[in-house]
């Protein structure tokens, strides 16, 4: 068999195009599927591991907290702001027109017991921790919290009142285990 014969054979119309397409599609398909499964399995290693997921609840005893005092606790690596609100705080939180707010939420919908405000202490703009927990901190123009990063002001219900943050401070999932103890998470 000479080279010309081989060349002719290659250009021969007897080549089964359908068979070629079948092989091409099955091979490529299988490689893509295998690659995708492997890739997803490997990428999944970067998701939270089991030891990280295990640290998902925090219990807090509220009894030592006097009226007007704040407490900051850690939950999932983030600060949780707990404020024992005064009657003044509560009334200023409740007696406003929520239609004028950017993120319209009533104070009642944000608390389980009006005495206790429990919010995630992470500014909804770009994630800084607002000031207002410590004595002497600026509480902003609305008596709640003030974020030093880009100047967002939160009121005594943790709602955004002024500044670039788009949403109110988030309310974490929590429940009262007893009168004075809450479980966050």
């Amino acid at each position: 068999m000479k080279r010309e014969d081989i060349t002719n054979k290659r250009n021969d119309s007897s080549i089964d195009e359908e068979k070629r397409d079948f092989l091409y599609i099955t091979t490529t398909g299988l490689a893509l599927a295998g690659g995708a499964v492997t890739g997803l399995a490997l990428i999944n290693t970067m998701n939270p591991a089991k030891d990280v997921l295990a640290l998902s609840t925090t219990e807090v005893d509220l009894s030592p907290l006097e009226e007007g005092q704040n407490l900051t606790v850690m939950w999932r690596g983030k600060p949780i702001f707990i404020r024992h609100r005064t009657l003044e705080d509560i009334s200023s939180a409740q007696n406003i027109d929520i239609e004028g707010l950017n993120h319209k939420e009533t104070d009642q919908s944000r608390v389980q017991n009006p005495k206790w405000l429990v919010v995630v202490g992470v500014c909804t703009h770009l994630g800084c921790v607002p000031l207002g927990q410590k004595v002497g901190d600026s509480k902003g123009e609305f008596g709640g919290w003030f974020c030093p990063c880009h100047g967002s002001h939160y009121d005594t219900s943790g709602r955004i009142r002024k500044g670039p943050a788009p949403l109110n401070l988030e309310i974490p999932p929590y429940e009262f285990v007893s009168e004075d103890i809450i479980k966050i998470g």
Binding site: M1, L42, T45, N47, A49, K50, D51, V52
Partner: protein, 423 residues
Amino acid sequence: MNENDLNEKKGLVGWIDKRLPVFTFINHNLRDYPTPKNLNYFWNFGSLAGITLVIMIITGILLAMQYTADTELAFDSVERIMRDVNNGWLLRYIHMNGASMFFIIVYIHIFRGLYYGSYKPPREILWMLGVVILLLMMATAFMGYVLPWGQMSFWGATVITNLFSAFPIVGDYIVTFLWGGFSVDNPTLTRFFVLHYLLPFAIVGVVALHLVALHQFGSNNPTGIDVKSDGDTIPFHPYYTVKDYLGLGVFLIIYAVLVFFAPNFLGHPDNYIPANPLQTPAHIVPEWYFLPFYAILRAVPDKLMGVLLMFAAVAVLFILPWLDTHKVRSANFRPYYKQFFWLFFVNCLVLGWVGAMPAEGIYVLIGRFASFYYFAFFLIIMPILSKFEKVSGLPSSISAAVLTEKFDGEARNEKNISESYVK
């Protein structure tokens, strides 16, 4: 398609290619690249080595996201990867066994080169870059093995770094410098982690040079004869891409069997004991891929000579192109070289086996004979054969070789078919 077509091509590809000829480059090196048409499956191992390098880098980066390089935390962080990290066990077993697969592939790759004379002119630098890659691989694998901080990690690190103490005068200074202290400890672990991350990228760099050197003259082939006409070659794509693809499939099956059914088969159980600087395990051996060199080290009853000989076992590969100066490349046409080659191959297996055995009794003697033959093959047999060996049956060209092998057979088949048709 050839380069000219691409350059004149319209659209986005053409526009980019005119300014940054990346498509021309790919086309030139992976598509049209003329390859001898008679390559056998031993030529698969280069691409497999490249793929394994990529697998090691990807799994290694993902592991480094979970690992902590601190003597107090290293062992536990690896156990955390095994238990808590999603698919962490898979990640670690792929990386762990990947090192073994990498060395298997590279050793076959090297023996392929030895058999078919791929180190001979004009491919000397290609070969020498390969030896550099081998050295880098060994250093990388060694430092990676230290990271889990098990007993084998710790004592392996102690022994290997102590190799440098054999050198007169400067030896102790070098060892203290390598350790960053007076023993293998936290500074050692931290720097080994950093270097284990760095060196694979150095390997990638040398591999790139390896490929540039390869593509300068193209692949060798089983006949060892140079390409003489276009008829001797076929384009790399699709003929060899698909052949490499098949090889990859077989390779991945073997790799997967190891990872999923025998993940600790090639490892050593003692490395599941946290490092203890006060107690050396009774039976300390290196990873299997270091065993032949370890056997050479132990064959010599002198500390410095043992170390020098072990380094020489790799260094001798550098000067290989000048030891074997025989005009014919492929062992297929060298009746004596072929026999000595296979003896050398078996000898390397024997060295590996002796390395795993205790250094006593008959094993010491076998180790010495095997070490002697290892060097004799390069330093005595090769130069002698270069002078005196006569060749037989050398074909005139690659095409001629292919036609006598393949198409005689095909012609015979056709004949048989027609005969059976008549019946």
